[in-house]
């Protein structure tokens, strides 16, 4: 069916993904931009489908984004990101009774980490810790490989990390600051037991990716539709709230340099 419909891929990590993209599709149609979406169960298949040209645009996690960058030799087109995707951080949380006062104290301790494909709960915290002189081999790594394929979107492995910290046996653990702050805000963190040891440098999160071969008119139409979404518009706002942003932002690549370096270092490609 050759037409000018933009076909977008997204990963169904939660039931809300359907109303989000139904809403965005309706919005695009009102803007005169024909768009449809298909849902994948994991980012690996979504990336392969993008590279194979089955979909026009992929809404990618940072891990999927840098893989697309690498597989296209840096020629892929980055189209946009959420305001909330910028300056993400991870936290190293410790048990107060574990006797950990500095990063050096982590050596020999049990460090709980999230899924192997979670940027914020495993890949980047381990990378930044190594830069601080704490190699993964110097701690007892306790890994929670849950929802693999979803790249940490579900947050399940981060909750596992927090549980292992609350109940033991973990002495320390790594989670994204979003989970850490929101779990505290929900009253689910026992601050008598846990505290923050360290906050990592910032990094960027999700990105819309397309192949360099994508028709220029589709690129323009997509950007036009995307950036026409306004927080002030109640219909848009409902969708933006579900997707966790206030404003779509232009792309930037510098926020992924640390992840690229981490994957080189961890042979995580």
């Amino acid at each position: 069916m050759p037409d000018n419909t933009i076909l977008l891929g997204a990963v169904a990590y939660d039931a809300k993904v359907v109303p989000i993209w139904e809403g965005i599709r309706t919005h695009f149609q009102k803007q005169g931009v024909p768009m449809d979406f298909c849902l994948f169960s994991n980012y690996e298949r979504q990336v392969e489908s993008l590279l194979a040209g089955h979909i026009d645009i992929a809404w990618n996690t940072p891990l999927a984004h840098v893989r697309v960058r690498k597989r296209t030799g840096g020629k892929s087109i980055s189209l946009g990101m959420r305001d909330s995707d910028r300056d993400f951080k991870s936290r190293v949380i410790v048990r107060k009774d574990a006797g950990i006062r500095t990063l050096a104290d982590l050596k020999g301790k049990t460090l709980a980490v999230g899924s192997r494909d979670s940027t914020q709960a495993r890949i980047l915290p381990l990378h930044f810790l190594k830069q601080q002189g704490i190699d993964a081999s110097s701690v007892k790594l306790m890994a929670f490989d849950t929802d693999v394929g979803k790249h940490g979107d579900t947050g399940t492995s981060e909750l596992d990390v927090l549980k292992a910290l609350h109940d033991g046996p973990a002495h320390a653990g790594t989670v994204g600051d979003l989970i850490w702050v929101m779990e505290q805000a929900a009253g689910r963190v026992d601050t008598r037991k846990l505290e923050v040891l360290w906050t990592t440098p910032g990094f960027d999160h999700c990105m819309f990716d397309a192949l360099p071969s994508l028709d220029a008119s589709k690129v323009e139409a997509f950007k036009r539709g995307l950036f026409a979404m306004k927080w002030e518009n109640p219909e848009h706002r409902r969708i933006l709230e579900l997707e966790g942003l206030k404003q779509w932002m232009p792309p930037r690549e510098e926020g992924y340099a640390s992840l690229t370096a981490a994957l080189d270092e961890q042979q995580g490609w």
Binding site: D83, S84, K89, D177, L178, W180, V181, M182, E183, Q184, A185, G187, V189, D190, T191, R192, E195, V196, T199, R238, E241, G244, K246
Partner: protein, 417 residues
């Protein structure tokens, strides 16, 4: 960045409280006091607070304007965002106090009056609550004061609560004596008929409670007392029909058709008019008749108690209808049309169901002696006149013209309810 021009409207000191260990329990209520754009100053001795608030503000769409060291800790300035800001203002300074140790619903309604219109988007939020946006729109259909709540509904609710009685203990069941067979049958039939009608009076209002906007909850509260009244009446009426060797009698198709037409009503005001003003109003005369001719004091006590309850229902119905008529004169035509429509659906049904008619005659006669039955028959005929006269009075009281009142009363169902 220089923020010297930013001044906080509210300032709080959270001491050593960790972000997730109590600090938010002070910060969030303080933010609730502000309108979007308002600034809150937070003093804290938690070094990680700027990081935590930076992320939290991003998610909650507040703005962390600055954090700087102060004597005694860090001072954070937060600007409240518009996301999730609950509509309205926090209730404050109500003058709600008990009188003589009692606190009634009318006193509360006086302090927190009904709104003219209610928004179905506020769901089950109690009247007066600030409502966080984004909740679902409920399918409430009675969202206007004019069609929902007469002004004295809270008083009626207070009266109803105070007047509740117990069908198990408050009736002197042990004083009931067996009656002669024919009279026993008549009593059984009459109470069967009463129970059947009261079942409809239980079902019909219940349909409207779930359609009523919760901001008019006093109406729902009153209706729930009405349901409790009907439940109790059904209970004691069926007990009376059966105790002392009697039994329930016949349910007539006329009764069934009449009550079915009540159950089909979709409009609250039409239902209040047909059920409470015309139906239960007519029932008051019927209950008085049964009390007057009751074969014993226990039976008289039962219908007297029921009549007291029904009087409140009629009062509510009258009050509701008069309130609606006052604000919407087109209601006259609508209510008349409702009576005519119901009458049309009941066309072809005979007069008062025969078993009811005969039982009321035997009851007034006190037995089957032909002379007494003749007197009983006259009493029954007088009852019809009394019912008509009192219906007309109620209709006139509601504001209908004498001609309308005569017509509407004539069109009323031969089933009484």
């Amino acid at each position: 960045m220089n923020h010297n021009n930013v001044s906080a409207a509210v300032a709080i000191d959270t001491g050593d409280l960790p972000f997730g260990g109590g600090m938010l329990a002070l910060v969030r209520p303080a933010l609730d006091l502000l309108q979007p754009g308002g600034v809150l100053a937070v003093l804290t001795r938690q070094a990680s607070a700027p990081d935590d608030f930076s992320t939290w503000c991003k998610v909650e769409h507040h703005e962390l304007i600055e954090s700087d060291a102060q004597p005694g800790g860090l001072r954070l300035l937060l600007r409240k965002g518009g996301l999730g800001h609950a509509r309205g203002t926090l209730e404050d300074g109500l003058n709600l106090a008990p009188v003589d140790g009692r606190l009634d619903a009318a006193a509360m309604l006086a302090q927190v009056p009904f709104p003219a219109h209610a928004d179905p988007g506020t769901g089950f939020a109690p009247r007066g609550a600030m409502v966080e946006p984004g909740g679902p729109v409920y399918a409430f259909r009675i969202n206007d004061l004019d069609h929902a709540a007469p002004p004295d509904v809270a008083e009626l609710y207070d009266q109803a609560v105070a007047a509740q009685w117990n069908g198990e203990r408050d009736i002197a069941w042990d004083k009931l004596k067996p009656l002669p067979r024919a009279l026993q049958r008549a009593v059984g039939q009459i109470f069967t008929f009463l129970a059947e009608n009261e079942l409809s009076a239980l079902y019909v209002p219940s349909r409207f409670i779930a359609r009523l906007h919760p901001h008019y909850v006093e109406v729902g509260q009153f209706l729930s007392t009405q349901l409790m009244d009907e439940a109790r009446h059904i209970d004691v009426f069926l007990k009376r029909a059966r105790v002392g060797g009697g039994g329930v009698g016949i349910s007539h198709a006329t009764t069934s058709a009449s009550l079915h037409s009540l159950l089909m009503l979709e409009d609250f005001t039409e239902a209040a008019f047909l059920l409470s003003v015309l139906g239960e109003g007519t029932f008051l005369d019927l209950l008085r008749y049964i009390e007057e001719h009751a074969p014993d004091e226990v039976t008289a006590d039962i219908v007297r108690r029921a009549r007291n309850d029904e009087t409140r229902h009629v009062h509510f119905g009258m009050s509701h209808v008069k309130h609606a008529l006052k604000h919407d004169p087109t209601m006259y035509a609508r209510l008349e049309a409702a009576v005519r429509k119901r009458s049309a659906t009941l066309a072809g049904v005979g007069g008062v169901p025969y078993a009811v008619q005969d039982s009321l005659t035997i009851l007034a006669a006190g037995g089957t002696n032909p002379e007494a039955v003749s007197r009983g028959h006259n009493k029954f005929r007088e009852l019809m006149d009394v019912m008509h006269t009192n219906r007309v009075k109620r209709l006139l009281n509601a504001g209908f013209t004498p001609t309308q009142a005569q017509t509407l009363s004539d069109l009323h169902t031969p089933n009484f309810m």
